[in-house]
């Protein structure tokens, strides 16, 4: 009996040795940091790729020194070829969507804080957790390998539409082994994400501390939980799609390649496949993926806003129910990516309706945030600024979604910069603002030191203004018909748009440079920051009840008991205007 209860109290023994502690760690906190580091690396590469693209767009004949070292064929003399532009674009999208927007807000912060916030010692399956990170890292390395092989990275965009992606090297440079590596990488990524999602769900269901009912979980825990439910189903569909794609490429099957297809003057030896099938499978994953990227940031931002306002939201429950309905509706809207695919126009109408419906819970959440902010005496710091910036980005980027959801308008705007601007703001930048907010908020817990506030606020203003300067003009470009994925523009009707393109490029380079402040701040504060107390923000949730950084088993081998809802602010507590979740003092209702 002794042995058994001992086994239960410690999910795993304290780690010993460098490898177990920092590399092949079973500790969810170390794994969370590993995910964060991977996301940071991926975002740096992805951003550098976007600089190359922006630079080439406005100075197509200017040499970029050193670029021929990366690819002799793709950038002869340092000038990007149209095909290589597409390669950069594919890698930018793939890195950002999979390795940044899925990893950072969900896998990194979720891994670190979900077990702590529910009062658990670790994830339900620590070994699976370690495997999920290392699988993801392998996926990353396989993808990056595409830069090194002679074939180069694929050119089919992050959506890899068939039949272009399925026919092999006839489809262009990078479509031989480069494309194979892409499909293998994404298949591996799916496995890693499935393991992670399974772990998140089982942990949330089974390892909650005594008194931690589902409705007492913090909003961000809810967001990670809902996200993991979405991820479990979404990646379970993308994995079969990648397997079928690889078979079409390597084994001569015809799942996605139609009969009589001639590519590069060669008749492809396939018959009867359906290119639309790939789009259906891909977007059945792809649209929920958008919510995998944004829901965790919504949760993190709500969590931080409440803390900064020092009062509860108008309704935390409605936020949770809204996130649930977004998660549910996300399965019915994938066809809105396919309005111009040749799909039956009646299906377009059918997909348009739930797409417009999904804006309702999103709007409800926004109104709750804004309504709660009304009259609030908000503490201004880097974390709360980025949380406010998230709302701004989410609204500005989300509004264009109303237009794109209508098939008749989308036919005009499809594949223009309007769409690019829309998803970069609402999914890319908004989600990253959530990550920045989370970083400034939780850095103290993760490292035991405070992040520098001055640098943090400077970083916020430069990034906030910069991203608006980059992505707002995208909408205007799209409205006048500027198509996406072109590497340069001849002097036709788009000639007058070049000054705007130049402005965007300069803004992109500047905003990118501003991120160096963030990276400097991360490194500087990690070593020279002011030591952080246990609860620097006077927070109420469990992560603030343990030392910064937490010990390897989070709660020192004990099990907290939960007495309160997560956000007891604006009350008379023993320590101030808040009562912690695990404090037995009565709630001053």
């Amino acid at each position: 009996m002794e042995e058994a209860s001992d086994q239960q109290a410690h999910v795993h023994p304290p780690p010993e040795g460098f490898l177990r502690k920092y590399v092949f760690s079973l500790d969810h906190k170390v794994i969370g940091k590993q995910y964060y580091a991977l996301g940071l690396l991926a975002v740096c590469i992805g951003m550098a790729l976007s600089w190359l693209m922006r630079f080439h767009l406005v100075w197509p004949t200017t040499r970029i020194p050193g670029l021929e070292l990366l690819s002799k064929a793709g950038a002869p003399g340092g000038i990007i070829t149209p095909e290589y532009y597409l390669s950069l674009l594919t890698m930018h999208g793939t890195l950002m969507v999979f390795f940044v927007l899925t990893n950072a807000p969900f896998a990194a912060f979720g891994n670190y804080f979900l077990p702590i916030q529910i009062g658990a010692e670790d994830m339900a399956f620590p070994r699976f957790n370690m495997m999920s990170f290392w699988t993801t890292l392998v996926a990353f390395l396989v993808l990056i390998l595409a830069f090194i092989i002679p074939d180069g990275p694929p050119i089919s965009g992050w959506t890899s539409y068939a039949p272009l992606s399925a026919v092999g090297k006839d489809a262009g440079p990078g479509m031989g082994w480069g494309m194979n590596l892409w499909a293998i990488s994404i298949a591996i990524f799916c496995i890693g994400s499935l393991l992670g999602a399974l772990n998140f769900i089982a942990t949330t269901l089974d390892l909650r501390a005594k008194g931690m009912t589902l409705m007492r979980m913090p909003i961000c825990t809810w967001a990670w939980f809902i996200t993991s439910c979405i991820a479990l189903l979404a990646f379970a569909v993308l994995l079969p799609a990648c397997i079928l794609l690889l078979l079409d490429r390597a084994a001569g099957t015809s799942f996605f390649i139609p009969s009589g297809l001639v590519v590069s003057d060669r008749l492809q030896a396939h018959s009867g496949g359906s290119p639309l099938l790939w789009q259906h499978l891909f977007w059945f994953f792809g649209h929920p993926e958008v919510y995998i990227a944004i829901l965790p940031s919504m949760g993190i931002v709500s969590h931080i806003l409440i803390n900064s306002m020092r009062k509860p939201l108008l309704s935390a429950r409605v936020i949770i129910y809204s996130m649930m309905s977004i998660g549910f509706l996300s399965w019915m809207v994938w066809g809105h990516h396919m309005f111009v695919s040749g799909m039956n126009p009646f299906s377009s109408l059918l997909f348009s309706f739930p797409t417009l419906t999904i804006t309702i819970p999103a709007t409800i959440m926004t109104l709750i945030w804004l309504g709660s902010l009304y009259g609030a005496n908000i503490r201004i710091n880097a974390a709360s600024l980025f949380a406010l910036g998230f709302i701004s980005m989410f609204v500005s980027g989300g509004v264009s979604g109303f237009f794109l959801a209508q098939p008749s308008i989308d036919i005009v705007l499809h594949a223009t910069y309007f769409v690019v601007g829309h998803f970069h703001m609402v999914m890319g930048v908004a989600s990253l603002f959530g990550v920045f907010a989370g970083t400034y908020f939780w850095f103290s817990k993760m490292t035991g030191r405070m992040m520098n506030q001055t640098l943090g606020q400077l970083h916020f203003w430069l990034t906030f203004i910069g991203t608006y300067c980059i992505f707002m003009p995208f909408h205007y470009l799209g409205l006048v018909g500027n198509v996406r994925r072109y590497s340069s523009f001849v002097d036709d009707f788009m000639g007058p748009l070049m000054p705007l393109h130049k402005f965007i490029t300069i803004a992109a380079l500047g905003t990118g440079a501003a991120q160096l402040i963030f990276i400097f701040n991360l490194i500087y504060s990690r070593y020279k920051g002011v030591p952080a107390p246990e609860n620097p923000w006077n927070g109420t949730t469990l992560e603030w009840s343990i030392p910064s950084p937490p010990p390897w088993n989070n709660f020192g081998g004990k099990h907290p008991i939960i007495y309160h809802d997560p956000y007891q602010y604006d009350v008379k507590g023993l320590k101030g205007d808040y009562i912690m979740q695990d404090s037995p003092e009565p709630s001053a209702g």
């Binding site: 058994a4 399956f125 079969p240 799942f255 099938l277 004990k558 099990h559």
Partner: protein, 216 residues
């Protein structure tokens, strides 16, 4: 310093069928810690179901949208394989009953449980061998992966199901080695999760067979 209060020790859940008098070895084997694997395995089953739903919808779209679909005759051995897999679920249930019964504290019951597990494992191998034989029969007819869309889906679906069965076999071997070992402990929930997964393999196979037999 902190007003945090803790429950010093979490109450262990009751361990079924283990009395104080039972031998230390069996108590270790059967102790009911780590309930998370129970929901974990159901979450996993959900994800696998979703994957096969994706394959199925691809199959129906592909079958309905093109003229080159040629129905292949399923090898008869598949029905024998089905029988083997269903039987293995029955033997696994017998093993479960023997192991989880109060009588399992006695060593002959442990041996009996191990015997039934051995039978389950053997039937699992019979199934895998039979599936391989079915592939060879199709190949002998000149039906390969890329021959026509129906044969493509046949190979993909059976291979995917087979891979999952192999994972189940690995889990069974793990459970048996832990169970037979004098020193290693086996959580009861791990055993139950393995059993649930194995039964699911049977259900999944029936589904795959139904999909493969369906002609639109």
């Amino acid at each position: 310093m902190s007003s945090t209060s803790y429950e010093s020790v979490r109450k262990p859940p009751p361990a079924l069928g283990v009395s104080k008098a039972s031998s230390a070895r069996v108590a270790k084997v059967l102790y009911g810690a780590g309930e998370a694997s129970r929901s974990g395995i159901w979450v996993g089953i959900f994800a696998i179901t979703m994957s096969f739903a994706a394959f199925t919808s691809a199959l129906f779209v592909r079958q309905g949208s093109s003229a080159d679909w040629a129905h292949i005759a399923l090898p008869a051995i598949l029905y024998g394989n089905t029988l083997a897999l269903l039987l293995s679920s029955a033997t696994l249930q017998r093993a479960r009953r023997a192991i989880l019964a109060v009588a399992a504290t006695e060593s002959h019951a442990v041996r009996q449980g191990l015997g039934w597990l051995m039978a389950t494992l053997a039937l699992g191998f019979v199934f895998i061998g039979g599936q391989y034989q079915a592939w060879r029969q199709l190949a002998a007819q000149g039906l390969y992966l890329a021959t026509n869309p129906n044969s493509s889906f046949y190979y993909v679906l059976t291979a995917m199901h087979g891979l999952h069965v192999l994972a189940g076999i690995a889990a069974l071997v793990f459970v048996m080695s832990r169970f037979a070992s004098r020193h290693a402990a086996l959580r009861r929930s791990t055993f139950e999760a393995t059993a649930t997964y194995w039964h699911f393999m049977g259900v999944l196979w029936l589904y795959v067979l139904l999909v493969l037999r369906t002609k639109l």
